[in-house]
Amino acid sequence: MATIDIHPQTEVHHDDHEHDHEHHGNFWTNYIFCQDHKVIAKQFLITGIFWALLGGMLSVIFRLQLGFPDANLEWLRPILGGWITGDGKIDTEFYLALVTMHGTIMVFFVLTAGLSGTFSNFLIPLQIGARDMASGFMNMLSYWFFFLSSVIMFTSLFLSTGPAGGGWTIYPPLSALPQAISGSGLGMTLWLVAMALFIVSSLLGGINYITTVINMRTKGMSFTKMPLTIWAFFFTAIIGVLSFPVLFSAALLLIFDRSFGTSFFLSDIYIGGEALPNQGGSPVLFQHLFWFLGHPEVYIVLLPALGLSSEIIATNSRKPIFGYKAMVGSMLFIAILSFVVWAHHMFVTGMNPFLGSIFTLLTLIIAVPSAVKIFNYVATLWKGNIIFTPAMLFSIGLVSFFLTGGITGIFLGNSAVDIQLHDTYFVVAHFHLVMGSASFFGMMAGVYHWFPKMFGRMMDYKLGQLHFWITFVGVYLVFFPMHYIGIAGFPRRYYSWTNFETFNSFADLNMLVSAAAILTMVAQFIFLFNFFYSIFRGKPAPANPWNSNTLEWTTPRNPGHGNWVGEIPTVYRWPYDYSKPGSKDDFIPQHIPYSETPESNLPHENELIKLEMGNEAIVVENKKH
């Protein structure tokens, strides 16, 4: 197929023939095995939405157990079958499987693949001015590895022994021994295979993102003129490429322990009436390997969301993002530090306490760039002219969650305080707000903001706003009360707390949390309706619906393969010239040269006009920021 051969470096060929080839190809090459980054992005998005729904449903099921422990769940039998016990309760082992799969699905399949996969793919070429990704074929492979991984993970839900049930962190020996929990049988095998494929997908994607950002920026798009979204995707991809292989090795060693009798993580185990021969392994080693990915993973999930919201908040505040350089710097700092804080998940695992001190220090350092980001967001809102588009609402929600959830990290990162809080609901509240909800809101903001570019139509404004308010309030009602439950010491992953006098309270808060979770879940159907309805029946989108500066809005309403008809625009300015004094409009897109805007140019920008005349890429650093 001809379009497949189009490579961004052969631009002349591209410009001439691109549109001749536009409608060639059949259903399979256009929508299924497609190498166009926009189609791949949509594939990631739709798959991500499917997983998000499933992951959300799983959480509602276990919230039913936690919030309404006396309820008869017999009515779930048609769906869950034997996992409902004779007296209408959820099986205790299945409860753990639900928790495990909810975590796995949300962290990896929704907030990693669904978020990075969608927006890195969609926005990197469009915002840096490239025809497509560096390797369209690798990009396609990335999706199909993810798809295969999804199929395997999904299949594991239907096993008679249940899917993996040892927690999403799959700590051995629990995850290594089928005698210990039935989910560690075939369910765990499929989990490991699915994750291995997932890592392959993630690496293929990540290498592509990095290469594309470094090599394929359009004329004038220096690093200092890149939108913060691209910076965020760039750092995310680097973190992923460096840390996912470590999870791969952990998974591989666990596969060896499970199937080939090695003892990397197993030692001195007596289970099921027999002493196992394994000796010399260390379960703590697995935790080190797991969290060496696991912690950067938090930022893999969060940074893209922060990037998206930076762009959306600047656009809808009609103001430059405050402290562009500080934003990039703090992301860089976070990306580096994310590799040296992993053991703060392990303060009380028996790890050497000296390591605990080091990781406390490093962990609390990472709070500084995070705080800087929040201040910058708030300062961007200050003296803006804020339009509450659904995307903007979700971005505001993100900042609020990032603050509320992030600030409790100061307790958890402090090893002495963490002793009591570790593995309680306080931790659940913390990471669901700062990583789960904030990233989810970033993803939603991204969908609302870039939907017009993806599908050429607008999503319904009012439904989007309604969706925001129910979800925003719902999420706070779900996770805020968990702080109290956590301070009271309630351990996480408990099927019920009634065995303990100490934890035999808070039935009221738990019921509130569950009710709010159900409400929030139901509200997502507003989004689903809006999303699918608007794909087909939404109002046709104008070329630049949000009056935004970035390059993607210079493409046709439904950009074809190759994105731009004719030449790719040259970039002359940073992406945040909103409400510049002197200019008629309150935005000046990146491709407008300074020579066309003498009325609004700052003194040093006038000097840049000479360079523009030479039709040269502006390599001179823009001194303004």
Binding site: P173, L266, A367, V372, N385
Partner: protein
Amino acid sequence: MMSLIIGLGLVLVLGILYMIFRISNLVGLVKNEEEDIESGNNIHGYLFMAFIILGLGLFFWYSFTHFKSYTLPVASEHGVVTDNLFWVSMVVIVVAFVIISLAMFWFIFKYRYNKNRRAEYIADNHVLEIVWTVIPAIVLALLIFSGLRAWNDITGPASKEAEVVELVGQQWYWTVRYPGVKDNQLGHHNYKLIDASNEFGLDLTDKNSFDDFKASELHFPKGKEILLKIRAKDVLHSVFLPHFRVKMDAVPGMQTTFKFIATKTTDEMREETGNSKFNYEMACTEICGKGHFSMRFLVVVDEPEAYEKWKVSQETWLKLNPDYMKYVPDGLKEAAMINSGMDNISNTATQATATTVSIAN
């Protein structure tokens, strides 16, 4: 039949919602969009203000009125320190949280869209940026250093006189071993020696194991340093003593430890909480399988004298499992008889027979 009606009702409701959506869409086409955005914007501005004021109000109201229900009384020395750290951090954090939240939502409200106004072109401000980088850094440094000092004290080596207790986690219960009153040393163990009776995998060739005893409740002396030696037999578990602010994983193949000093006896705690049935408990906080939520173990804190008395009253493991005498090397058999208290067995047995006889008479 009932579910059919519910199903039909649901379809009907969804249908109505869809019609409302279509109609409002059509109405929207007629309306002036610019005005719409501005009036809609006002609504959201006010909603945000209402949200933050109500939210913060609810937060403070619940935090103060329900303080007792979500804070656990503390019963250990280091627990007082970490609780203090927690609450000091809490004050710092709540102050920061309230200021930032109020500022953010106020800006969102105040600077909501107005078509007659224009945003200000403010790209950065180095002074401001340095200030808000340095201030959190200083505050965090203070929190870190007070935290690390506490952490070093808590994780430092235990004193030689510490009262040692061994906790063993397994699916899904705890077993507890005390080093005994004769030698006060835990005997060696080996997981390959574990069987149905020998739960600890006690190595009976080690003479320290003779007087070790298994306890069905965890007893701690008040005011004396306690060193927990923790291990697991099958999968990871985690010792959690919520009132003592103690938590440490139990790891198969690796011994972990935690030292602390209990400061309140069970009776004192019953008085303090006004709950005559109050009990200290131990729980598991590391996912370990289907019984994870049921690994409760009763904990009792005694006055030191009562604790010593309780210890003496416990039967040694070997005495309760005399069959295992066969594993004791010949040279140590006598020591085993003495240290395990088994040399009394015949005496007690005779006495018991005598009593029975006298009752019969």
